[in-house]
Each structure stands twice: as C-alpha cells, then as structure tokens.
C-alpha cells in the first residue's frame, strides 16, 4: 500500500508540455460544421447511392465473349421486367472476356423463377456470346429496409450500452456526460467516413456497414484511453480543475494517439494501395472511408470528446465560477 502511494506521487510529476486543448472550441465547431457541410454538399451534388442490400432490387452480372449490344440486352430484359433497366458494360478481372451488369428495382424483387427465366431468355436471344452468370443479388425492398433499420437499431443499442458502461466506469469524473460526449465524437467520425464515401461516389453497401462498425470500435476505444488518463489524473492531481485535467490527459496521450493512428491508418493505406494495384476495386469503398474515419477518430478523441465534455461541465458550473476558460 505504501509502495502504491509512493509510485503515485512519482507519477504526479508530469513534466512534459501541456497543450491547451480546451481553448480550441471554435476550431472544433468549425471542423464539425465543415464535415456536415461536406456531407450535405456531397449528397446534393453527387447523390447518395444505396446498394440493393438496403433499397432492394436486382443486380445481375454476366460474363460474355464477343460483342454484345447493351441496348438490345436492355430491351430483352424489359420484356420481362416492367421497370427501368440499367445495363452497364465492364471488363472482366480474371480473363480476357467482358462483363455486363444489369440492374433494376422492381416492386417485388425478382424471385428465383424470374431470374432463371431471364437468364434463359438472354441466352436464347444472344446465343453467340456464351453468357455465364457471374454474380447476382436480389433483395426484396421490404427485406432491404428491414436490414437497414436493424443495422441502425443495433448501433443505437450499442451506443446506449456504451454510454451506460462509461457512466459506471468513469463515475468518479462524471460518467454520464463523458459517455454522451464520447458518442458525439463517434458521430463525428461516422459522419466524416460517410462524407468521404459520398464524395468519392461509393454506394452504400455492406462494406459501409463494416466501416461504421469498425469506426464504432476504434472511436470509442480512442476516447476511452483519453478518459482513462483524465480519470487517473483526477486521483493524482486532486486540486486541478477539469480543464487542467483534460489538457494534461490529452497531452499525455498525444504520442500514443499519433503512434497508434500511424499503424491503423497505415494499414488501411496499404490495403488501398494493394487494392488499387490488383484491381479489386470493390474493397476501396471499405478502405478509403475507413481511413477517413480513423483520421477523424484520432482528432475527435483528442478534441471533440474531451472539449465538448469540458464545455458541458463548464457551462453547468458557469454561474458559480468565473468563466476563465471561455477564450
């Protein structure tokens, strides 16, 4: 026990430079607004593309050889499907053949019977092109909506449990507000990832679900590491104000934050480069938004979460104390 106290007193002497994180409120607000504006502008200019996992619909890809007239394919498909059909030509990754992608949204979705019939019809109409089904995805609109809603509910539920967990574990430093502020930081990171995803023109598919889930884990972890330092400093520096605790905690964690981010962001950079070289671009909509979320996560765990929290706590105590921290 005496040893513990001795160690505590030694650790108290934090001699490194303490940066004033809490004074950066304006910057934090401006960056948050920028992220939201980028998201909205991107959505307005480029549009938000939901993959059929979410909106329901049908996407069929066939490989073929020789020449194929996309308009003729379009006409053939529209015989069977009474909605707008989109036909796109693409190059095949694995062979010197080509691919054609047919997509459309129908009210009921195309069931297996319909899809079988469609393939048979196309093979009959274009016998020289050796059409082979490459991949297909057919989701009825109701299942698509349900999947989206379930994802959202899972995230909201996770957020609530995380707030409760933080509230309990960090009750010594005012847990509830800390928990809610960690969710602010999380939303900031998710919005940043979504904004980049929209601006790059990726469609929202199951990759974006994986991205958001990963960010959920990293962002909360980052914030908690900082909170942990603040909690520890509360014991070590009993007389310090909350802002001093936050500034010290963030400064102490700065090296760790940067170094961890180098490894995580670096990993995603490697993935992005490998994917670009190998041509499997379907993974880009995973690695690029995730990188944006990780960059945002490093920043938001140091600034957004602790500073909004200090703001929250400060404004509550403001009538009693003089506002020495307001700029």
């Amino acid at each position: 026990m005496s040893k513990k106290k001795q160690e505590a007193s030694q650790a108290q002497a934090y001699t490194g430079k303490v940066y004033d994180f809490c004074s950066k409120k304006t910057m934090i607000l401006v960056i948050a607004i920028c992220v939201v504006v980028a998201l909205i502008a991107g959505a307005l200019i480029r549009g938000v593309k939901f993959a059929i996992e979410f909106k329901g619909g049908t996407l069929l890809t066939y490989s073929y050889t020789g020449d194929l007239d996309t308009d003729a394919v379009d006409a053939e498909v529209e015989k069977l499907v009474d909605s707008n059909v989109n036909v796109r030509r693409g190059e095949s990754l694995d062979s010197d053949g080509y691919q054609i992608t047919i997509s459309f949204t129908s009210k009921e979705g195309l069931n297996a019977d319909g899809q079988h019939e469609l393939t048979e019809n196309l093979r009959a109409a274009f016998p020289d092109n050796e059409l082979e089904l490459f991949d297909s995805n057919d989701v009825s609109p109701s299942s698509g909506r349900e999947f989206l809603l379930k994802c959202l509910l899972a995230m909201v539920f996770a957020a609530i449990l995380i707030i409760i967990y933080i509230a309990i574990r960090f009750s010594r430093i005012g847990g509830w507000s800390a928990g809610i502020c960690s969710i602010f930081a999380l939303c900031h990171d998710i919005l940043a990832a979504l904004a980049v995803s929209i601006i790059c023109g990726f469609e929202f598919n199951s990759n974006i679900v994986a991205v958001i889930l990963t960010i959920l884990g990293y962002s909360i972890n980052n914030t908690i590491v900082i909170y942990d330092r603040i909690r520890e400093n509360r014991t070590l520096m009993p007389k310090a104000s909350l802002n001093e605790l936050i500034n010290t905690g963030c400064s102490q964690s700065l090296t760790r934050s940067i170094r961890t981010s180098v490894t995580t962001i670096g990993t995603m950079l490697v993935v992005t480069i490998v994917v670009l070289i190998s041509g499997y671009n379907s993974l880009l909509s995973f690695s690029v938004p995730l990188m944006a979320g990780l960059i945002s996560g490093t920043y938001s765990s140091l600034f957004v979460a602790p500073v909004t929290w200090s703001w929250w706590k400060g404004s509550k105590k403001a009538p009693k104390k003089d506002k020495k921290n307001d700029k």
Partner: protein, 469 residues
C-alpha cells in the same frame, strides 16, 4: 500486487508456447492410418470460407404472399429443403429457419470450376412447392393472368405415397419409355383402389399434377388395388429421376418465394482474398518494424504477442479449441480480425509509452515495467470491453436464429425484426469478440510475462525506450 515469479526462462517458455500454438493452428494436426486421414486439429486449410470469398449462393425463402406458417409447417418445409439439398448433391450447406419471421435461409458454396452447375436452376428447384396430386378428371380453371388451378377431386396426394422410383417399361407400341413408379402406403392404396374401381372403364381420366402442371391424364382400364401406380408422360431419364426425387423429398406445406437471392462467383472472391492477404502481410511487416524501432524490447514482445493474437483468432475460426465448432470466415470477418489486431497493437503502444514515461520519471527498469503494465491496464480493459459490447450486439442481432446471443437479443430488443442471419455482419462480431479476448491473453498477460522475463537478462533502460544509459 506481489511480484510474480517470473524468471529468465519465462520468456522462452511463453515464446515456445505461442509458437507451438501458432504452428498447430496453421498446419493443423492429422495422422494417416491406412487410407484414413484422421484430423485431430483443423489447420488453416480446413477453414470454411464464406461465400463472399469462395463464391456461392445465399438465398432467403419466405411464404408467398401474406401466408402465416406455423412453426410445425416451417420445420416441415425446412426438412423438405434439407432433403432436396441432399438430392441435388449440395452437401456442404448451411440451413436455418426462423419461426418468428417465417424465413428459411440457405447458403451453399459454388465450387470454383464447376461451370456445369447452374445456381439459378438449383434455387428454383429448392423453392418449388412440388405438390403431387392425382385428381378425378382433367378439368382446370385458368385465371386472368393465365395461372392454372386444377379443379378435379383429389384422389391421392404426396402424403399417400410411400416411395417413388423410375424405370423403363414398354409402351403400347412396344417401345421402351421412361416412367415414374409409385409405391403407395396403406391409406393411399385404399383411396386409389376405390377411385380406380369407380373410374374403371369410364372415359373420365385420372389426371396427375405436379403443382399446377399436368403431367399426364391416363384413363383407367382396371381397378388398381395392389398399391402400385405408374406415371407416364414422355419422360427422359433425367426428368423421370427429377420427378421421383421431388416426390420422395415431399411437398412443401405452403408456397414459398425468395426474399433475397445472391450468387457470387468464385473468381471475384478469391481475388479480393488474395489482395487482402497481401495487404495484411505488408502491413504486418511494417508494423513489426515500426514497433521494434519505437519500443525496442517491448516492441519485439508486442510483435510476438500479435502473432499469438492472430493465431488465436484463426484458431477460433478453424475450431482449434474443442468447445466451439469453428466458424465461417468472410471478408468482414477478416476486417474484425484486423480491428482486433489494431486494438492489440494499441494496447502494446499504450504500455510501451507508459514504460517510457515511468523510466523518464526515474524508476528502475523493473519497477517501470511493473507500474506501466498496471496503469495501462485500466485503459486497455475499458477500451476492449466496449468492443466486446459491440461484438455481442452484432452477434445477437445478425446471428443465426439458434445461436446463444441471438436468442437473447431477438426476443428482447430486436423483437420487431425477424432473424436476418446476415452472416456477413455476424462474422465481423465473432472475430472481433475472439480477437479482443486474445488481446487480453496475449497483448496483456503474455506480453507482461515476456517483458518482465527479458528485463531479468538486461535492464539497460535504452532497451526499453528509456533515454540513453
């Protein structure tokens, strides 16, 4: 906390154990006795890859229209589909049913190079109702959309049939033709017997229907009371076999349609797996160099611990630990491993930074290591526990209906949703959960043992990231 008895040799023991674990996870363990290979431990080659990697079919069936199936009917339908999968030769499949949302989920791989396999036709066959009926007369109604409904009184249906087979027999002109033979059960024999004696000699035929398709409508010459019936109708050997198989696997108790249907070609997935693996190897090498340069001895230990953590995640996927059966590895599952490894690297960085800090404050190497691991633990614990929360929610929300977390969550918080068994998201939760547990075992416990042990060999502060000396 008392000082554990960590000696000089501890490091080598821990490294040896991790190496043994990692090697046995990767290579597996099997012995060959005669022609039989017995697998004791499954290796990396035995990992079941998800259909997003190796290609395959993922289809969700539900009752057509607003039909509300009972649990017993759904179970019966699932059994029928199971038999049909076996009949089609699709033995490597996953089949789930969920009574709450009346869904049946089927997944099976589409083997590379299997170009004569038509996934669309297979799914169509799985979802056919396949209700065989023998009816008096051959009348039927046609509605406005051209759908045919037979109207004759049902003589017998699929449940009156004991077994079906197919064979060749001579027709009226002496040519051999393919026919489907039926062996009726006792109930069916008496019903069929009384109907044939009633119709024998009349011009009213007995029509044979598969769903809404009439196969044939023979007239009856003599009463058939021995319980054997034959279906003729221009069969080839394949179509006769198919009909016999359909009759044997039974009819679905209700009409079903596909809610979602996904096929992924094998070439697409394998390419992206290769890309991910290449990226993972490069990233691992870079992180290893980075950690060792920054943190010296603790950095080296971190790299060993991360190897152990990756091996642990793979072991859970292969089913190395006897208590769980292994899982399917998908691309988001790999993302879960990467996230957990990232958390493991972070745990080591947090500790490494702490050791540096404590050394800077003037502690001895031994004390610095001890204090650093203790102090760093609360941050690692809280960060990882929140990830456990996330992982469990994902496994519950998107797991297969019979799994533990799914049972709890789907009855409470997700009560208004059916089980989706979105295997992709579940897989992420699974590898994340396992990775986080491994992080505690390797990233915290094993790495502390190793660093403490190495400090017994040399406690030069420079080796642990201290400033000089």
């Amino acid at each position: 906390m008392t000082v554990k008895k960590t000696g000089r040799s501890t490091f080598f023991i821990v490294v040896a154990l991790i190496a043994l674990f990692a090697v046995s996870t990767v290579t597996g363990l099997d012995y060959i006795y005669g022609d039989n290979t017995t697998t004791v431990i499954k290796g990396v080659d035995d990992i079941r890859l998800g259909i997003d990697i190796k290609g395959g079919v993922d289809v969700t069936f539900a009752p057509a229209g607003d039909y509300d199936a009972t649990d017993a009917q759904l179970d019966a339908a699932t059994e029928v589909i199971k038999t049909r999968l076996a009949t089609l030769g699709i033995n490597d499949n996953e089949l789930y049913s969920d009574g709450k949302s009346d869904r049946i989920i089927v997944r099976f791989p589409w083997q590379a190079g299997e170009s004569n396999f038509d996934p669309e036709a297979a799914v169509k066959e799985l979802g056919e109702m396949a209700e065989l009926t023998f009816r008096k007369g051959d009348e039927y109604d046609t509605d406005a959309e051209g759908n045919i409904t037979p109207t004759g009184d049902i003589v017998i249906n699929g449940s009156d049939i004991d077994s079906a087979g197919y064979t060749q027999q001579p027709d009226a002109s002496g040519n051999y033709e393919w026919v489907v033979t039926l062996k009726l059960n006792t109930d069916g024999t008496s019903k069929f017997g009384s109907a044939t004696s009633e119709l024998a000699g009349t011009s009213t035929p007995i029509s044979i229907w598969m769903d809404s398709t009439m196969i044939s409508a023979p007239t009856v010459n003599n009463a058939i009371t021995n319980g054997n019936a034959v279906i003729t109708g221009n069969f080839t050997s394949e179509s006769a076999k198919k009909l016999a198989d359909q009759i044997n696997s039974g009819a679905l108790p209700f009409k079903i349609e596909t809610k979602s249907f996904k096929t992924i070609s094998p070439t697409m997935g394998e390419g992206s797996l290769d890309a991910i693996l290449l990226a993972a190897v490069i990233a691992f090498a870079l992180i290893a160099i980075y950690m060792i340069v920054l943190y010296r001895v603790p950095g080296l230990v971190a790299v060993i611990a991360i190897c152990g953590q990756i091996a642990g995640s793979l072991a859970a996927v292969t089913g190395w630990f006897g208590f769980q059966p292994g899982a399917t590895l998908t691309i988001p599952g790999i993302a879960g491993i990467i996230l957990a490894v990232g958390m493991g690297v972070d745990a080591n960085i947090i500790t490494g930074e702490r050791i540096k800090e404590e050394l800077r404050s003037g502690k001895s190497t031994d004390a610095a290591i001890r204090v650093a691991y203790k102090r760093a633990f609360s941050a690692i614990l809280d960060g990882n526990i929140t990830n456990v929360i996330i992982a469990i929610i994902l496994m519950g929300a998107f797991g297969v209906p019979s799994s533990f977390f799914s049972k709890i969550l789907n009855r409470t918080i997700f009560f208004m949703f059916g089980a989706t068994a979105e295997g992709v998201v579940y897989s992420f939760g699974f590898t994340l959960l396992v990775g986080v547990i491994c992080n505690f075992i390797f990233g915290v416990f094993a790495s502390r043992l190793m660093v403490t042990s190495l400090a017994k060999w040399s406690d030069k502060k420079a080796l642990y990231g201290g400033d000089g000396k």
